[in-house]
Amino acid sequence: MKFISEFREGALGSGLVRRIERLSRPIRIMEVCGGHTHVICRYGIRDLLPPDIQLIHGPGCPVCVIPQHEIEKAIELSTRPGILLCCFGDVMRVPTRRGTLFSLARGRGSVKMVYSPLEAIEMAAALPDKEIVFFAIGFETTAPSTALALKRASSQGLANFKVLSTHFIIPPALRVLVKDSSSRIGAFIAPGHVTTIIGPDAYCFLADEYNRPVVVTGFEPLDLLQAIMLILQQAAEGKPRVENQYTRAVRVQGNRRALEAMDEVFEIRPAIWRGLGLIPGTGLGIAPAFAPWDAEKAWDLSQVEPAPEPPGCLCGDVLKGVSQPKDCSLFAVSCTPDSPVGPCMVSPEGACAAHYRYRGA
């Protein structure tokens, strides 16, 4: 069992597709993970479904939901003397009013790509004369790694390590989306890996208060098909609930160690989401006990003003599921993965990049 090829067996998909055809009804199903967006486009899942079933993309790409001015804060820090900014590769190509982090990495050499915050910690230990700032992005899947890095910095007394946190948490954003009548979401494909951390019960309010089926879903094509089938079954029974399709990875209790580390290191604060605006309770700032490692406490970044969306860019509506990438007049014309205008074209997890890459596939 390698947990990959077994879940891509085309012959096994036929049974699921048949069942979906039998249960088909008009419904809009939103996935809230960039990984799911990618799989849906790569395997042409839409083409296997009856036309009544619409799959719409939600704000599941972490790079896409970061407001431009948060990236400009990171750029501002990287231009100050003595600071080396470390960040994940995905965020480096997002265009801002001040260029990209990638252009700074090439130009001034004050930005470095890392795969893990632990690399930034190692750099801080090796370069005591530099201030190492880790630009922390992502949802509940990456927040625990930042939390553990901060705990390590604290236990090692690494005074030259700082974190600029733009971590988001998902469930309260889903409440905003389900209440938004323009999105018209009938059911949710819940993010499998986020749920390995927070546990499936985090979505109960969507079923209990808003009567929406929710299925926590894995990342292979057969997982997606089964999730759609389970959603249709729930809709036919008229009993919306949270179901766990991804039982091989997601436990009922989530990952307790990760949750404890996040609780210790972060405090919940409001956050601005690109496209969705300010949502209370969705940001993770750094708790007072870890203030010595908080980049926002160490340097004044208040002069970085919020940025308007690029003219003509529909990323905001794409992130709410109101528009599809092809609805945007810039899509595949002036906005392409090589020369992106909006963030949804930058990351491979972004809806526009996935549609572009697999268009006509």
């Binding site: 879940f7 048949r18 399709q245 091989r248 990875a249 997890e349």
Partner: protein, 83 residues
């Protein structure tokens, strides 16, 4: 960053580190969040940290369900096939 695919644990080192293999390429990852991970386990890794150990029995249960549905679909005529 989040297109995580299962990685095989090749060795577990002291200090919560492990050597993992994804599509034939070896990387270092922290297993601090999944102390139950052992050599041969498959884990999901995000940002250099394993966040979940995959459960073989559960995976087999899901695949069995797919198999049963495929067999049922083969036996029952499709609505569109009738008439």
């Amino acid at each position: 960053m989040c297109l995580a695919i299962p990685a095989k644990v090749i060795s577990v080192e002291p200090g919560g580190l492990a050597m993992i293999e994804i599509e034939g390429v070896r990387h270092k990852a922290s297993v601090e969040l999944v102390p139950e991970a052992e050599v041969g386990s498959y884990v999901i890794v995000h940002a250099g940290f394993a966040i979940s150990v995959l459960d073989q029995e559960e995976a087999q249960g899901t695949l069995k369900l797919f198999q049963e549905m495929a067999e049922m679909a083969a036996e029952t005529p499709h609505v569109g096939d009738i008439g």
